[in-house]
Each structure stands twice: as structure tokens, then as C-alpha cells.
Amino acid sequence: MKCQKCDKTATFHITELAGGKPKELHLCEEHARDYLAENETTEEAAEPAETLGQQLAVGQTVEQLAKLDKQACPVCGITFFDFRSKGRLGCSHDYVCFEKELEPLLVNIHGETAHTGKRPKRSPTDTDRLTDLIRLRKDLKTAVQAEDYERASQVRDEIRRLEGDKK
């Protein structure tokens, strides 16, 4: 049997059992090493990013999906399309701004939509307000670059106020 990625003989036959059905892979030593490297033998079997993205597209019309794909997070700028294609979110505010869109995916993966476990002891509340800091630090950089020192000092004050909030 040949390696699925090149012409060498496949000496490694890998079975992935994460998710529903087993997936068979036949690879040469080199490609098997790459594959296992990517998929992290020592870690858990994570869902490949692409499958995550595909799950999100299910049940959407082309127009709906096209419109959804253009939506972007105001904090980190990631579009829904970026997330769908990479399977990784851009910042914690994405869970807020894409809340509805992520829900079916969470049900699909976990069968549940609410956390019931541990909470941080010192700061056991919602931290979404702190994502403003991400935006403000970007603003500060822009203001400094534009030599708009008045704006920069305003932003700096706001950052200090919010950082005080963290404690």
C-alpha cells in the first residue's frame, strides 16, 4: 500500500477514533511523523479545524452563510469566515459576538451549552468588559504613531481605569 501523501510505501496505519466513526490513515514513516506531530500524540485527539468549520456551515443557505461569513468581531477583527476556515477563535469576545452562531456547534461537540464546573476564585465574574483593553491598546498604538498625544493620553487613562478593575 502506498502512502496517502507521497509515493513511498505506507508503513504506518493510523486509526483515529475521536468523534463518530474511525478514520483510517496510511502513511510512510516521514508523513506519519508529521501527521502525529500535527495531531499531538501526547495530547488528546482534537477535532480537526476543518471539520469544525464544516459543522458550522450545515443548515445554512448560501446567502445566509455569505452574509454571516462577513461578520467581524469588533475587538480582534476576526471574521466568521476566518473562524470557519481555521477552527480557532481570535479573542474571548468572539464567544459574545458570535454567541448565537456558536451555539449549535457547542451542542454538537458537548451536548450542553452551560458550564457547571469550577469558577475563578478571585474574579469569579464575566470578564468580557476586559476585552475593551485589547481594543484600547490598539487605539493607543495608533494614536502614538499618528503623534496625536491628546488622544493617546485619553486612551492611556481609560486603560489605567480598566486595568485597575482587573485587580
Binding site: F12, I14, G20, A37, C76, G90, Y95, E112, K121, S123
Partner: protein, 360 residues
């Protein structure tokens, strides 16, 4: 916080390899990891190099300030050579993804290699606790305490309803992955492994095994872990994995007993031949080594090779991997030279006076 002495690490073995934990004839190790992110920085995929540097600094400094009670040393992974990073992956102290990524990142490791804190992996922080044998309860107790200590200075991204927020939605909620590494050679020989896989999938546990030629697993090692991270408490997740392990251990031991009873001669022959090859080969691949060490490991557990100890074998599984071999021999080697060096290393460690390997 002291810097990690890599050369010293090369020659030592982690606590989890000592084979001293509960049920260590079947369970190699128990591991729990928690994924955490700082609330005021973007996730890694959207973090600028400056963000990454600040995340790394915040976490590193914070961990350092936890002080002497928190016994860890630090390694700047971004400054390490490829071989050293590969070495840490083989040692299970960092992930492959962490080794191969770019930009500011590091790892804090405790003295006996039970705890590793990876900074700037897929999430800002990945806390890992690794224990020898079947010891998930102790692993949870330890990682829970470490998490509290870190949370005393770091504000984690947290959502009222969704819990701890992670870069990938597969980890959201508890951010926790509970896993055990099992050695199941008898279930492989008696062809019962597929049946076991199917029953575990039904209760949403993930199983991984690596197959070589002839559907023989690489070293007959399988990892079982939870897939769900949201909607169950950490204790429930620990319980879910913990409850299934004793029956797998039982299943494997029964298969071993069956082999001893029904075909002791064949079994003894298989084990002895494996031991013989490992002690005499002049060149040997990593795959063949794993395969033979697996038979020998089972043989030792069944009392067929009285002069060998489990910790020695566990150590050989790790020390014969590519980066370890190169670090131990002090030179970079290509595949062919590695195979020769591996055979030499095995002969040296399996042919000492009383059969037991020396420590170096």
C-alpha cells in the same frame, strides 16, 4: 525562578516514568491539562508579536513571584534549538504544536517533571500534571491547586454561562482534558482491542492508538481521554475516565492470564525472542524497538524476565526516541546512524551484570 538545566534533564527520568504509581503494570501514566487565557489579550491566532511577548512576560513574572513554594524552573522555548525542542516533546513536557510554533513562548517545569506550564501554546496557558500509574484523583488535586495559585495574579477569560474561554470551542467550559496512557499488549494479541474501542466511543471517550505494519500498535500504547469539556464539572470528568479504567485494567489482566494459561510456551517464546533481539541487534528502528519493548514489558509484568525492572523499560521507551538518543550520544545523527546508536544503547542497558540497566 531558575533556568532548566537541559543536560541534566537528558540523563534523568521523570517521576511519571518510574512505574511506581498504582496499577502501573497496565497504566503507564495519568494526565490532566487545563487550558486558560488572559482576559485582556487576544487569543494566539490574533495576537501580535508584542501581545505574545507581554502575555509571556505577565505569566512568567507571575509564576516567578509565586516564589520558592512553587518549585518550577523556566525554559525560553523560542531560544531553543530544534533538537532540544524535540527532546522536550518526547519527554511530554511540551506539545508538538508548542515546539513548532513561533514567537515568544516558554515552559515552566517542576523538579520531578510532574508539572509543566506551557505559555503561548494554542491557549495563553496550558497547565499539565502528569502522574505515574493510575492516579487521576491526585492529579486533579494538584492541578486544581496550581490553577488557583496562578489565578491569584492572572485574570482568566471567563464567561458567566460558558465558563473558561478557549481558542478552540472543543475546550470551552472546564478547559480540561483528562487522560490515561494504557499498555494493552494482551488485548492486542487476543484481538479484543477493537471491541474495547467501540464500547468507549459509545460513552464519548476518545481513544488513540498508533498502528505499525500488521495492525500491531506502536508499543501497544493507547490513550483514553474525555471529549466533552462543557456541561460537566471537573470532578465529573475525572470520574467519567476513572470509572472506565478499572474495567479496562481488568480486561487486559484477564487477557494476560488467558495467554499464560492457554499458551504459556508461545508467550514465553515471544517475550524471550523480543528480549534476545533487543540485547543483540546491531541496528534497529524506533518502530521495531517499541514493538519489542512492549512484549518485554508484558513479560516483566508476568514474571517471565525476573532480572529486569519496569522503570528500566519505561526509561528505554523514552531514551530510544530520536532526540533523546542524539542528546544522550552528544551528536546529531541521521536515521541510519540513529538505528545503530539505538541498538548500541539497548545492548548497553540490557546486558549489564545483573541484567538490570544502570542509571546512566
Amino acid at each position: 525562578m531558575a533556568a532548566v538545566d537541559l543536560e541534566e534533564l537528558v540523563r534523568s527520568t521523570g517521576e511519571w516514568l518510574r512505574g511506581s504509581g498504582p496499577e502501573s503494570d497496565v497504566v503507564m501514566s495519568s494526565r490532566i491539562r487545563l487550558a486558560r487565557n488572559l482576559a485582556d489579550y487576544p487569543f494566539i491566532s490574533r495576537a501580535s508579536p508584542a501581545d505574545r511577548t507581554e502575555i509571556e512576560k505577565t505569566l512568567r513574572e507571575g509564576i516567578r513571584k509565586l516564589g520558592e513554594a512553587f518549585h518550577v524552573s523556566y525554559l525560553d522555548v523560542s531560544k531553543l534549538e530544534g533538537l532540544d525542542r524535540q527532546f522536550l516533546v518526547e519527554r511530554q513536557l511540551i506539545s508538538r504544536e508548542h515546539a513548532d510554533s513561533e514567537g515568544a513562548r516558554g515552559v515552566a517545569i517542576d523538579d520531578n517533571e510532574q508539572v509543566s506550564l506551557m505559555i503561548n501554546e494554542e491557549d495563553h496557558l496550558r497547565i499539565q500534571v502528569l502522574k505515574s500509574g493510575f492516579d487521576l484523583a491526585a492529579a486533579w488535586e494538584k492541578i486544581n491547586a496550581i490553577d488557583d495559585q496562578i489565578e491569584s495574579f492572572a485574570t482568566y477569560a471567563f464567561h458567566e454561562r460558558l465558563g473558561y474561554l478557549t481558542a478552540c470551542p472543543t475546550n470551552v467550559g472546564t478547559g480540561m482534558r483528562v487522560s490515561v496512557m494504557l499498555h494493552l499488549p494482551a488485548l492486542v494479541i487476543t484481538r479484543q482491542i477493537d471491541k474495547l474501542f467501540r464500547s468507549l466511543q459509545k460513552i464519548s471517550l476518545a481513544v488513540r492508538g498508533l498502528y505499525g505494519e500488521g495492525s500491531q500498535a506502536m508499543g501497544d500504547f493507547y490513550q483514553i481521554s474525555n471529549q466533552i469539556t462543557l456541561g460537566r464539572s471537573e470532578e465529573e470528568l475525572v470520574k467519567q475516565v476513572s470509572e472506565v479504567v478499572p474495567s479496562i485494567i481488568d480486561y487486559e489482566r484477564k487477557a494476560r492470564e488467558y495467554l499464560v494459561r492457554e499458551s504459556k510456551q508461545n508467550l514465553h517464546d515471544r517475550v524471550s525472542r523480543a528480549y534476545g533481539i533487543l540485547r543483540t541487534a546491531q541496528t534497529i528502528s524506533s518502530e521495531e524497538t517499541m514493538h519489542l519493548l512492549s512484549s518485554v514489558r508484558m513479560g516483566v509484568n508476568l514474571g517471565l524476565i525476573p532480572e529486569l525492572q519496569i522503570p528500566t523499560l519505561n526509561q528505554l521507551f523514552i531514551h530510544t526516541q530520536p532526540a533523546h538518543l542524539q542528546k544522550l550520544s552528544g551528536s546529531e545523527l541521521d536515521t541510519a546512524d540513529r538505528n545503530i546508536e539505538r541498538a548500541r544503547y539497548l545492548r548497553a542497558h540490557l546486558n549489564t551484570e545483573d541484567g538490570a540497566a544502570d542509571k546512566n
